[in-house]
Amino acid sequence: MTVALLLTSGAAQASCLPADSGTHMKSADPARFAAAVRFNPAPIKVGAPFVVNLMLCSAESAKVERIVIDARMPAHRHGMNYKPEILAKGEGSYEARGFLFHMPGKWEVTLAVTEAGNSKPHQLALELDVR
């Protein structure tokens, strides 16, 4: 069972991310927020829990107020059976637990970052093909 990364656009503009920070997520506004993820264990196996290690940064030094991470299968119109929890580890590093993909196919990891003083969250996403 393997996972292939399909969308990594935004990487070129995500200069605030360290070089070895993982797979870059697609960001609606990379200058505002950029994020990269690593999965543990990797590769992701269908039916097996995994942890998402997230690196988040802002080239414009935007202050993060709230982060929500989740995953869904767009084609099936459903998400996971579990609600992940994200913990700040400091210096833009986060750890999200409670992930399990219960079906093979295309999944999308979604990240909603709300900055202080702005109620509309920034959306980031990473599409994965999981077998």
Binding site: V46, R77, L100, H102
Partner: protein, 384 residues
């Protein structure tokens, strides 16, 4: 003219002969993509794992004690039924009935115990997060064994052999004043035994392993109808969306458009109720009876969340051992493997409660396709 006819007859004979020879040669029908998907269903058997929430898991004395308890009718309040009343070894550890029949008629089909140890959730609704916690359910359920914790503690105390085994395994005496602990320990011994109930290799496993080592000649001996069925399984049938991995189940829950009325006016909410029961259970992995505080043991209980789409969802069963475990579905409403294939072939998507999910559709299998798919499913059971 006669000569021409003779030549024609000879030619026909040659063609027929060639066709016969070709038909007799087993061939590997699967594409590389299909082969790759077959490999995901093995190897088998899976390695045995111990349950860290159960200190009796894997303990030989506990397994022997659990085996004895499993067949003991004295654990029931009436003294008339044991675990083995519904989970009969000679019937694939189920009972052959549409719905279980113990002290009373149970609401759901009796699930097989084969390979139960490697599950994440237990029961059709996943109301338990460990095998020991789920073993408590039938002990106390009035329609099943109808016992009380005090009855269980008395049964252990009054039987010298049980008393001796209990002390040996758990290092304490059963205590009616703390009957709940005795109940939990009895359930942990029962779970230790049930973890040893596994099924062996099948024709499919030989096929899958031949594919894994690149032995196309050996793989080609897998029956042609079963190979066509395997192609349907990972192709148009999309069966492997839910029936994944070596056990042919993702261990989760799905709405398969099976009616969820137990009887007129009484609904089985399935997973929706199962999550509520799990979260409120004093016997879940977050409770005081769990033998570990390790987060890896309880992560699923922490993170599972009840949603309205859980209504009418039931456990995705393993497809191994189907020839031993009929009838099928949570309510035992499908008598044969062919009936199950027909269910998915003609599925009524209007019955699906989970809105928006687009996995199932009427597959409209031809008679030959249905037969091929059933032939493949039979290869997932031990050879007769």
């Amino acid at each position: 003219m006669k000569a021409l006819a003779a030549w024609g007859l000879l030619l026909l004979t040659c063609i027929a002969g060639a066709s016969l020879t070709t038909a007799q040669q087993p061939s590997l029908l699967l594409t590389e993509s299909e082969i790759s998907q077959m490999l995901d269903h093995g190897p088998w058997p899976e390695p045995a794992t111990r349950d860290p929430s159960n200190r009796a898991s894997g303990n030989a004395e506990a397994i022997a004690f659990g085996r004895t308890l499993f067949f003991d009718k004295g654990l029931s309040i009436t003294g008339t039924v044991s675990c083995a009343t519904c989970h009969q070894p000679e019937r694939g550890w189920t009972d052959g009935l549409k719905r279980g029949q113990a002290i009373g008629l149970v609401d759901r089909n009796t699930q097989s115990l084969l390979n139960i140890g490697n599950n994440r959730w237990f029961g059709w609704a996943g109301s338990s997060d460990s095998l020991w916690a789920h073993s408590i359910v039938p002990l106390l359920e009035p329609k099943e064994m109808g016992a009380t914790p005090a009855h269980i503690a008395r049964r252990i105390s009054e039987n010298p052999a049980f008393l001796s085994s209990y002390k040996a395994v758990f290092g304490i005496s059963p205590n009616e004043a703390d009957a709940e602990t005795t109940l939990v320990n009895v359930a942990k011994a029962l779970a230790a035994f049930q973890e040893t109930i596994t099924s062996g290799r099948t024709a499919f496993d030989d096929f899958r392993d031949a594919l894994a080592r690149g032995d196309r000649t050996a793989a080609a001996s897998f029956p042609q109808d079963a190979q066509r069925g395997a192609q349907l399984f990972v192709g148009r049938g999309k069966c492997n969306v839910c029936h994944v991995g070596p056990a042919f189940s993702n261990g989760e829950f799905s709405d398969a458009a099976v009616p969820y009325f137990i009887e007129p006016g009484r609904v089985d909410p399935g997973r929706y109720e199962g999550i509520a029961k799990l979260k409120s259970s004093p016997f879940n992995r977050l409770g005081k009876h769990s033998d570990t505080r390790d987060e890896a043991s309880s992560w699923a209980t922490v993170h599972v969340e009840q949603r309205h789409t859980n209504f009418g969802e039931f456990k995705v069963p393993s497809l191994r051992n189907l020839t031993l475990t009929a009838p099928f579905m949570h309510n035992g409403s499908r008598a044969t493997i062919e009936d199950v294939v027909r269910h998915y072939s003609e599925i009524n998507v209007e019955r699906l409660h989970a809105d928006g999910e687009r996995i199932l559709e009427p597959f409209k299998f031809s008679a030959r396709e249905a037969s091929d798919l059933a032939a493949f499913l039979r290869t997932l059971s031990p050879r007769p």
